[in-house]
Amino acid sequence: MRFVATLHVRPKSEVRDPQGEAVRAALRSLGLDVADVRTGKEIVVTFDAADDVAAREAVATMGSELLANPVVEDYTYDLKAPVA
């Protein structure tokens, strides 16, 4: 069965985000009253798995093995089951 998982990978809150610092400064230069910016990655994976359980296991592997670096990043995901 075909699934679509969207993984959101964000730097851990206590870890510094230089890109966020740069975007905040740039947005302020546009005259916007910006307090804070955090940047992260969003990865949309279209894949096949036997069933819902297998799909969740696959996404967990994607997150922990490759897409998020556990030392400096956390990840969440939402999984869209195939259209009935």
């Binding site: 206590e14 510094r16 985000d17 230089p18 740069a22 030392v71």
Partner: protein, 664 residues
């Protein structure tokens, strides 16, 4: 009355990383019980990483004087005189433990730190080099380390815009769980622009400039590098420092402009132990006091305690002491470079480092206690050579006697493809080697060569190590590393001026670790004396081990040489039909610690080095260069004679017909 803001901890000294003996010494110096913040400051400053407790007694024996030496060990970096008032500033540093925790950021912040050491002296960085040591590349973990570390070095150096011109990479099993990342930086400065950390005067304003202070690396580098990763490696994880190379570029330009305008009387970069180290070192070296208020320190996180502000190792920060009356100029330079620079205190004449928070004194210690009075441990007291296995093994049997020719050819091809010998181009291709348009010879050559615009002379730089030899005999390994670095310089026709060294070793508290440290320093000393080259700066990284197994003693040598005329290096195909191919130096043949042996699973002695012969060899090659007789010279290292010949032929696209000398 001094109050601590931390809740009382059962054993504060131990928490700060101090042994009971060291805690007693602190109490004796302070004449009272320090508060928790003060214990943490001592713990960071008396860590092995900052205080070199186990290596200082040995390092004093290294030769550090010479006609060309402008700045010797003890400053942010060493310097040699290139003539006509131009100095070459350089140093190599390790960032091993942070790179084991997070390879990309660990290596990137290692580059950031060594760059700041050089421009803190007022010198403009002109070249970066690195020496990397990994486990077996067939393991997935090693490949992750390699891509993380190389990615970190490239992303940082390329963004700041400093060319990477030379390097060394070793793949040996002992580094599998504890990779080594040594970064070297070379800079240039006019003598009158040289800046130190020892000229702060009472009354002068103290500024902290650069990125906001966060909780990253809380006592990271100083604590991390003072314990084996194996012991509770987990809870070290969160103290990861993250670098911002763009901010580093602004910080570099601002610092160099302050020096140009002569608006700063003392400059110090913030590295291990953060603000605690910078303030205590500037105060101690200037024989002055300093008063700072942590409330003025710009912060990135909310609710940070004075403890966290004083121990944070956030990257890209400098301490700048303004010349009296030049405060506005200093602040203008910060603004121009869009940097956040804040006055955090004043230099005083009461001989005390006093830290206040919202008007309340939270720490007051003599700077000297922190910067200079850490105990020293002479490892010779318990050094002990490991059992016979450490000695030279029996003569390895050479099984290839009279092997058919094509088999030898096949073996050469396999040798050229093995990790110890294979081209590193796939790695250095991801580094910018040409920014600054001064790179005459870059990675792949025997040494990097830089021209200096407006001058005819040039500078040659390289970085080398011999871990396979040192694993058998640390003395010979260290001496061979020095010899190989200088050999690479003379191959490009450069006269060696001085070296910087980074000694990466295991746990010095164990007899074998202590012996390896003592023999390694002795090897560097012997080679420097025999080859007439001083050590002007350096670094020691101990406790490199995984689950109790030390890495091989790894002396990394960075060398700087001088070329009278760089134009003679116009890159043309050097080999021409009919040119003679000569082997100079020792024709002795041994498979000891060879890459060839490694492929067959052999890793035994004997290993030896004839330093007198080495010195004569260098003089010979330089004389031949000076007489214009040499088209190309290449040194025999990993892979031996066959690989050296093959590399030269490949590089210059020529063939060679060679008859081997009689084997002795």
């Amino acid at each position: 009355m001094v109050t601590g803001t931390m809740t009382a901890k059962p054993d504060l000294p131990r928490e700060a990383g101090l042994t009971p003996f060291e805690a007693e010494r602190v109490r004796a110096l302070a004449g009272r019980e320090p508060n928790p913040l003060e214990w943490a400051m001592f713990g960071a400053m008396w860590s092995e990483h900052c205080a070199y407790k186990h290596s200082r007694p040995l390092l004093r024996s290294l030769p550090s004087r010479g006609p060309r030496v402008a700045v010797g060990p003890g400053e942010n970096a060493g310097a040699v005189d290139l003539g006509d008032g131009l100095l070459c500033v350089f140093k190599v540093e390790s960032h091993n433990h942070p790179s084991a925790v997070e390879p990309n950021q660990g290596a990137a912040t290692g580059v950031g730190g060594i760059l700041r050491d050089v421009f803190a002296m007022g010198a403009r960085p002109v070249a970066l080099l690195n020496a990397l040591f990994f486990g077996d590349p067939s393991e997935a973990r090693t490949r992750r380390y390699v891509s993380g570390v190389v990615g970190g070095i490239g992303s940082y150096g390329n963004c700041v815009g400093i060319p990477d011109v030379a390097g060394h990479v070793s793949f040996e099993p002992c580094y599998a769980g504890n990779p080594l990342v040594n970064a070297m930086c070379v800079g240039l400065v006019r003598r009158e622009r040289l800046r130190f950390a020892n000229s702060a005067r009472p009354g002068s304003a103290v500024y902290l400039v650069g990125s906001d202070t966060g909780r990253d690396g809380i006592a990271g580098a100083s604590l991390l590098a003072s314990f084996e990763l194996g012991e509770g490696g987990e809870e070290h994880r969160p103290s990861v420092q993250v670098g911002n190379p763009f901010l580093e570029k602004l910080l570099m330009e601002a610092t160099l402009e302050l020096v140009e305008r002569d608006a700063a009387e003392a400059i110090q970069d913030l590295g291990a132990a953060g603000l605690t180290c910078a303030t205590s070192e500037v105060a101690a070296r200037s024989r002055a006091g300093m008063r700072i208020d942590v409330e003025t320190v710009p912060r990135r996180a909310q609710g940070m305690t004075p403890y966290e502000v004083m121990l944070s190792e956030s990257q890209e920060r400098m301490l700048v002491v303004a010349r009296p009356g030049r405060e506005r100029d200093v602040e203008d330079v910060f603004r121009r470079w869009e940097l956040h620079g804040v006055r955090i205190g004043t230099v005083t004449d009461d001989g005390m480092l006093t830290v206040t928070s919202a008007g309340e004194v939270v720490a007051t210690l003599e700077p000297r206690w922190l910067a200079d009075d850490a105990p020293e441990y002479d490892v010779r007291a318990w050094a002990e050579a490991p059992d016979p296995a450490g000695g030279g093994a029996a003569e390895p049997t050479v099984r290839t006697e009279g092997a058919p020719l094509q088999k030898v050819g096949l073996e050469l091809l396999e040798l050229l493809a093995c990790p110890a010998v294979a081209s590193r181009r796939v790695l250095y291709r991801t580094y910018d080697q040409m920014v600054g348009t001064d790179t005459v010879l870059g990675p792949g050559a025997d040494a990097g060569v830089l021209r200096m615009k407006g001058r005819r002379d040039g500078v040659a730089v390289c970085i080398d190590a011999q871990p396979r030899v040192a694993a058998i005999d640390p003395f010979v390994g260290a001496a061979s590393a020095v010899a190989e670095a200088l050999r690479n310089l003379v191959c490009v026709g450069a006269t060696p001026l001085a070296i910087t060294d980074c000694l990466n070793l295991g746990n010095p508290e164990r007899p074998a670790g202590a012996w390896q440290l003592e023999r390694t320093v002795a090897g560097v000393k012997a080679a420097c004396e025999a080859l007439g080259v001083p050590v002007v700066s350096g670094n020691v990284s101990l406790y490199n081990a995984t689950r109790g197994r030390d890495i091989w003693p790894t002396a990394v040598i960075g060398a700087v040489g001088h070329l009278a005329d760089v134009a003679s290096h116009i890159p043309v195909t050097s080999g021409r039909r009919g040119d003679a191919v000569l082997l100079a130096g020792s024709a002795a043949v041994s498979l000891g610690a060879s890459a060839y042996g490694a492929r067959l699973g052999m890793h035994e002695g004997p290993v030896a080095i004839d330093l007198a012969l080495e010195a004569r060899l260098h003089r010979f090659v330089l004389a031949a260069h000076a007489a214009g007789l040499v088209r190309a010279a290449h040194d025999r290292s990993e892979g031996g004679l066959a690989v050296a010949l093959a590399e030269l032929a490949l590089r210059d696209g020529v063939g060679m017909r060679v008859t081997l000398p009689a084997v002795r």
